[in-house]
Every structure is written in C-alpha cells, then in structure tokens.
C-alpha cells in the first residue's frame, strides 16, 4: 500500500527541488519585499515536502515510528511559516512607513 510512495521518492524530491529553486529565484530577484517573503514560503514548503517524502520512504522499514514525525514536522513548518508571515508583514509595514517603499535594496542602513 505504501510502497508506491517509496518507489516514487524521486518525484517528490524533484517537486520539492523545483519548489526550492523557484523560491530561491523569487527571493533573489524580487524588487518587492512581499514577493521575497512569498519566495521564502516556497522554500519552506519544499522542506516540508521533503520531510513527508522521507517519512514515507522510511514507513515500510522496521524502524518506522508510529508518530508520523514527518507529517508533524511539516505541520510545524506550516505553523512557523504562518508566524513568519505575520512578523514579516509587520516589518514590511514599518519599513513602508519609514521609507514609503518596500524594495529590499533600499533598506541598506547596515551597509559597511
């Protein structure tokens, strides 16, 4: 029943890689802080997919745990992503208040 997922692990990994790369690309190229955070969400979700996929791979073997660790971890990632979005949007609002602009390149007070 669960063999299907294990044998198709590559598909899941490939998908999460695609997510990760798209996410990274978004983070690196956006000129809008909100867009950057969207990219971060993609990267986080790529990680979540990997957790579940590797859990499923392990599920058939003898050391499988009954606690669905992979899924639980994904849930934590989702929760963390939600919190991160809340904090991030608050920061974006403050930055906008200060600079009337949310281009990450404009926020460079910490430059050397």
């Amino acid at each position: 029943m669960f063999a299907g997922i294990a044998h198709n692990l590559t598909i899941y990994l490939a998908m999460s890689t695609v997510f990760f790369v798209f996410g990274l690309f978004t983070i690196l190229t956006r000129r809008n802080a909100v867009g950057v955070f969207m990219g971060v969400e993609l990267v986080l979700n790529a990680a979540a997919i990997n957790f579940v996929a590797f859990y499923a791979l392990k599920a058939d073997s003898a050391q499988s745990s009954p606690w669905l660790d992979g899924q639980i971890f994904s849930l934590f990632i989702i929760v963390l992503a939600a919190i991160e979005a809340a904090v991030a949007l608050a920061i974006v609002l403050r930055v906008f208040g200060a600079k009337k602009n949310i281009d990450p390149d404009q926020v460079m007070e910490l430059r050397g």
């Binding site: 997922i5 983070i27 690196l28 956006r30 579940v52 009954p66 899924q71 430059r111 050397g112």
Partner: protein, 699 residues
C-alpha cells in the same frame, strides 16, 4: 437506467458547473453582456438537468437500499501498522438524489429571481461590478452546497460546509455600505464558527475511533459494535454524537446559537431564500440525518429532540410580534428547522428529511414572494406600511397564499404531510412511549397553531385591509416574469400530491391508492441506515396517526380563524390581545429573550473583554516592566564592568595596539561586500553553497 460510472460522473458535474460559473463571474463577469448573470443561471440550470437524471435513475430503481459510491485516496501516509488515510468520494443514494433535485431546482429558480431583484438595486452602471460579484458568490455557494450533498465522508462535507459559511458571510454582508448588514455578516460567521469548531473536534474524535471519515465506514463500525469505551468521561459515541450535533446547532441556528439567523435578513432577499430556506440551514439538518445511526447509538437523540422542540416553540412566539416581513419569515424558518431537529430527535428520520424538502420549497417561495412585495414597494419591509396589495400583485399573492397554506399545515398542501408526520412521531414518542417527554408533542402542536396564526397575520397585513403607506402601495404593480415565474413553480410544488404519494406512488406503479399509511414514495425510499425498525414504536405510530392528524388540522384551523378575527375582520383588536399578556412577556419577546444581551453584554463585555484586559495587564506589568525592564537594570550593572574591561583591555591594548593596521587594510577592501543589499548576500551564499557542492562532487 445508467451505469454507475456515468452516474458518478454526472454527480461530480453537478457542483462543477456552478464552480466554473463562479470562476468566470469572478474574473470576467463584469465585462460580459448583462454582467454575466446568464452564466450563473445557465450553469445551475444544467446542474438541475443532471440532478433530474440522477433523480430519474433513483426513481426507476425504486429501492430503499439504492447506493452508488465511488471513492479515491487523497492522502495516504502513515505505516501499514498505523494507517493514516484520507479519502474523497461520492455517495449517491435516495437521500442525496432527492436533496440534489431540490437544491438545484430551488437554486435555479432563485438565480432566475435574482436577475430581476438585484438588477433594480445593484445593476446600475455605476455599481455594475457588484451585480457580477453577487452572481459569483451565489454560484460558489450553490457549488459548495451541491458538493456537500454528494460527499461520502464527513471531511469533504466539512470543507464545503465552511465554504458555505464564507459565502453566507459575503452574501449577508452584500449591502456593505449598511453597517447593520456588515455587523450581521460578522455575527453570522462568528456564531456558526462556534458550532463548526465543536463539529471539527467531534470529527477528529471519530477519526481516532475508526480511522475514517466515510459514512459507509461509520455505519459499518456501528454494526460491528465499535465505539466502546470512554472519551473524556463520556461514552465515546455520546461524545462524538453531541459534538456533531453542535455543528448542526450552529449551522441550522438552533437554540442556543439561534441569534445569527434573524440578523442575517440584512442580506438581499434572494440570499435569504437560498441560504436561509433551501440550502445552508438545511445542510445542518442534512448532517444529523446522515449521521443518524451514530446519534442514535450515542443516546443524544432526547437532547436533540428537546433542542428542536424548544427552538420551534420559542421562535414561533417571537414571530408573532415582528413587523418586518422578512423577520417573520426568519423566525418561522427557525421554528421549522426546530421541527426537523425535533423529528430527528424522536427518531422520525423520514419525516425530518421530508420536512426539510417541503420546507425548502415553500419557504423559498415565501421568501421570494416577500422579495417581490419588497421590490414592488421600493424596498419597504415594514408590514404596517403595506396592505391591500392583493389586487396589485395578483400572481405573487396567489403563490404566497399557497406557500402559506403549506407552512400552516393545511391539508392538500405539502407542509401538512411532512409536519403531520413529525407531529405524529413526536406524539408517539413523547405522548405514548415516554410520557415523561410530554413537552415534545405539546411544543410541536402549539407551534403548529402559532405558525398558522403568524403566517396568516403576515398575509392579512400585507395583502388585505387598508394600505399603510398609500403612495407606495398605489404605485406597486406586479413584478416582471423572471420574478413571478419561480414563485409559481415553487407554489405548484407545495401541493401535497407530490409528497403524500397515494397519488404518485399509485400512478407510477409503486404503491396502492390508499391515503397515507406509509405508501408515500418518500416513506418507501428514505429509510435510516443501520438502525433497526422498532415494531413497538411502529405500532404506537399507527395509534398516534389519527389523533395527531386531527389535532394538527384543528390547531391549524384555529390559528387561521383566530388570525382572521384579529387581522382581517378586526373583531378582536390586536391591542387588546397584546394586553392579555403581562409586561415581562412583551419585554422578553422584544428583547429576543435577552440572548443578544447575554452574548454581547455578558459573555463578550463581562467575560472575554476583562479577560483580554487582564492578559494585556499581565503583559504590560509582568513581561514588560518586570522582565524586560528588569533585565535592563541588570544589564546596566553588567555594562559598566564590561565597559571598563572593553576600554582598557580590548580598546587600548588589543585594538589600538595590535589591530591598528591590519584590519584597516582588510576592512577597506571587504566593506564593499557588506553593501546592505540583503539579496546580494543571499546570492553569494547560494553561489558559495553550489560551489562547495560541485567541489565535493568533483573530488
């Protein structure tokens, strides 16, 4: 007859059409001719045709156990020893087929009605966008309702249940420039959320017991005697059953969460007809009908019966004093939903579902007829300003009269058949089998009399007597065809021949030409799964049949006659009637039994707000002042020491001495890297990571 596969495909198409219409309306609706109302109307009409085909298949099978199911795995994780699997599926049985037919029919007519009703209000060029989004919401709502009906498991049912909650929020608050409408939509959303949360907890508890949300698995588990043991000190089935019923209490506006439904009348009238008559509130009852075996096993039925009886009686009393035409209908909806819940509680599975269907039809008709009156009166809803509209709105008047006769339970109309079945079951249960539950039939019969009284009060105040506001009444004229046609169709379906079935059953060769007596197609087709037939109770039902029927007819007649005396011939002045009751009764009714006051002023203002303030205080005093500011003081002490150390050892000896020259040179070259552009940093990190990875690969 069709193959099962094609039936499943057809069932999936039914919610798909309105969903597509929603997407079209949401994205390009405002650019289409007539702002795309025809997209929504035709989509739901096609769904109606699909539902009719399914209904015809059900009819040609004519088998109480007819079930077509199909399900697919959605999520499959967990291990062989600890399975964790979510499935999606479609379940078509007699219940779903009848429900689909009713919902698509009512929804089609209501969509058609809306093309007339909403054009007057929001179809102006300046506000055209809202006309398109109204139909978008309407389509999304209908799609969710239809998907809920065909769901074969509680999980997808719950998902669509929530989509409907969202749409009802959007539609109730459609006149968003009115603060009352905006508040009503929030109130409806938040109140039902309480029930939904409890329902979700119940579903999770169910899942831990049987590892599935599918109705088939639930029924099978009950038959195999699962649900032993206790959860949180209650028998597990009781615990789960109670929480599932809480979902119904929220969605179907039963006591004590009934407060949102009357306020929801702030929405446009077609919305009231769709959400508060035909679909969403019926979905709550549909849920407890679907999970009936579980509720029966858990022994929560008496509680359900009392909640239903209580709601129906007390809402009926409230309806008597209302002057807003839609408020009367809102309270009558509460009251009739109470009937359905009462019926489930006394074990009258079939009667409850039948009343759900008949009520949906005549109440949709009543709401739309009131909408037609409001439209003709230029958005005047106060019945005191109406009157004498009989000749000015002849078609609306006749359709509304038929629906009023149906809801009052007059023989030859559909409401009589279903209400009678409920009252007889309540009598057999509360009167004969368990005399200690005498309140149930008494409340039921009282409500029947009150219903006839207040519904005819509405008719007399609206269509007879003197015009209250002469200017508006004299200018009122019959509504256009797309508004009266739905009324006529629904009024036609409110006749009892379609349900009493001594005619239909006989004509179609499925029964005898005997009045009543269980020959109705409805009684033959809709049977509770799993639950065994109780011979003794069946016998009591037969005994209760005649007295119950006589009592309900007598009470309905009394109610109508009394209403005629008070509001038509005015033999008994209404003021005198009002004075018969002590002042506190009036006060309680005017304040809706103080429920709003209890929730808003006591729970929210006295409990939640002080608690929130306490928490804010805690945050301010303990966390901010003591912890954060206290840490500051500690740091101040540490700082002086560190500062001295820094000044003497680090700065003077190390920095100025040793590091004077080297970092200056390095810093000048490296500061260009630290340019403050965070994306550049990340790019460097990514490239570095990639390089390391490639190097490892090469080596």
């Amino acid at each position: 007859m069709m193959a099962n596969d094609s039936l499943i495909t057809l069932a999936l198409l039914i919610p798909a059409f309105p969903l597509v219409a929603y997407l079209i309306q949401a994205f390009v609706g405002k650019r289409l001719p007539r702002m795309g109302d025809w997209v929504s109307v035709s989509a739901i009409f096609v769904s109606f045709i699909c539902a009719s085909i399914i209904f015809a298949n059900m009819w040609s099978n004519f088998d109480p156990n007819w079930v077509v199911t199909a399900h697919w795995t959605w999520l499959d994780s967990g291990t062989a020893a600890h399975p964790f699997k979510l499935e999606l599926g479609v379940r078509l049985d007699n219940l779903a087929a009848v429900m689909l037919f009713m919902v698509t029919l009512c929804a089609t007519l209501i969509h058609l009605f809306s093309t007339g009703y909403m054009r007057d209000y929001d179809g102006k060029e300046s506000d055209g966008y809202r006309y398109a989004s109204f139909f978008a919401f309407l389509s999304l709502f209908t799609s969710a309702m239809l998907a809920l009906v065909i769901s074969d498991n509680l999980f997808t049912l719950f998902m669509f249940w929530e989509v409907m909650g969202l749409c009802s929020y959007l539609l109730i608050g459609f006149y968003r420039h009115k603060p009352s409408a905006a508040n009503a939509s929030i109130k409806a959303f938040m109140t039902t959320r309480i029930g939904d949360t409890l329902l979700f907890i119940g579903m999770l508890a169910l899942f831990t017991q049987i590892g599935s949300f599918r109705f088939d698995d639930i029924y099978a588990a009950i038959e195999q005697g699962a649900f032993g043991g206790e959860t949180l000190g209650f028998a597990t089935a009781t615990f789960i059953g109670f929480l599932i019923f809480c979902g119904t209490v929220g969605k179907s506006a039963q006591f004590p969460l009934q407060v949102w439904l009357p306020d929801a009348m702030e929405g446009p009238t077609p919305v009231s007809a769709l959400i508060h008559a035909a679909t969403m509130v019926a979905a709550g009852v549909y849920l407890i009908i679907r999970t009936f075996p579980l509720l029966e096993l858990g022994g929560v039925l008496p509680l359900i019966a009392y909640v239903g009886a209580f709601t129906s009686l007390f809402a009926a009393i409230l309806a008597i004093k209302q002057f807003d035409i839609k408020k009367v209908l809102a309270y009558s909806t509460l009251s009739q939903l109470g009937y359905m819940v009462l019926a489930v509680g006394v074990g009258a599975y079939t009667a409850s579902f039948m009343h759900l269907i008949t009520h949906a039809i005549f109440k949709a008709c009543l709401f739309m007829a009131s909408g037609a009156v409001i439209y003709a009166m230029h958005h005047e809803q106060d019945m005191r300003k109406m009157g004498d509209l009989r000749k000015r709105l002849p078609i609306t008047y006749k359709a509304m009269l038929v629906a009023t006769l149906a809801i009052s339970g007059v023989p030859l109309f559909s409401g009589f058949v279903s209400k009678d079945a409920i009252l007889v079951s309540a009598l057999a249960y509360g009167g004969f089998e368990h005399p200690e539950h005498m309140f149930l039939p008494i409340a039921g019969f009282l409500t029947a009399g009150l219903t006839a009284f207040y519904m005819f009060r509405l008719m007399f105040m609206t269509f007879f007597g003197e015009a209250g506001d002469k200017k508006h009444v004299e200018h009122a004229h019959e509504v256009p065809w797309n508004m009266w046609l739905p009324l006529v169709v629904l009024a036609g379906l409110s006749l009892s021949v379609l349900f009493s079935g001594s005619v239909t059953g006989g004509l179609l060769g499925h029964g005898d030409f005997v009045l009543g007596g269980g020959n109705e197609w409805f009684v033959k087709l809709i049977k509770a799964p799993v639950v065994k037939v109780d011979e003794h109770f069946e016998h009591l039902l037969h005994q209760a049949h005649l007295p119950g029927m006589i009592a309900s007819v007598v009470l309905a007649t009394l109610g109508i006659v009394f209403s005629w005396l008070v509001y038509k011939s005015k033999t008994i002045p209404a003021e005198k009637l009002a004075k018969l009751w002590p002042n506190f009764v009036h006060k309680a009714i005017d304040n809706l039994y103080y429920f709003d006051w209890l929730y808003k002023d006591v729970f929210i203002k006295r409990v939640f707000l002080p608690f929130s303030r306490l928490m804010a205080r805690f945050d301010d005093l303990i966390i901010d002042r003591i912890l954060v500011d206290g840490w500051k003081d500690v740091n101040a002490v540490v700082k002086t020491f560190i500062g001295k150390f820094d000044d003497t050892v680090i700065d003077e000896v190390l920095v100025d001495g040793v590091g004077g020259s080297v970092p200056q040179y390095l810093g000048a070259s490296l500061r260009t890297l630290q340019n403050g552009k965070i994306q550049r940093y990340l790019m460097v990190a990514a490239v570095a990571l990639l390089t390391i990875y490639l190097l490892i690969g090469v080596l």
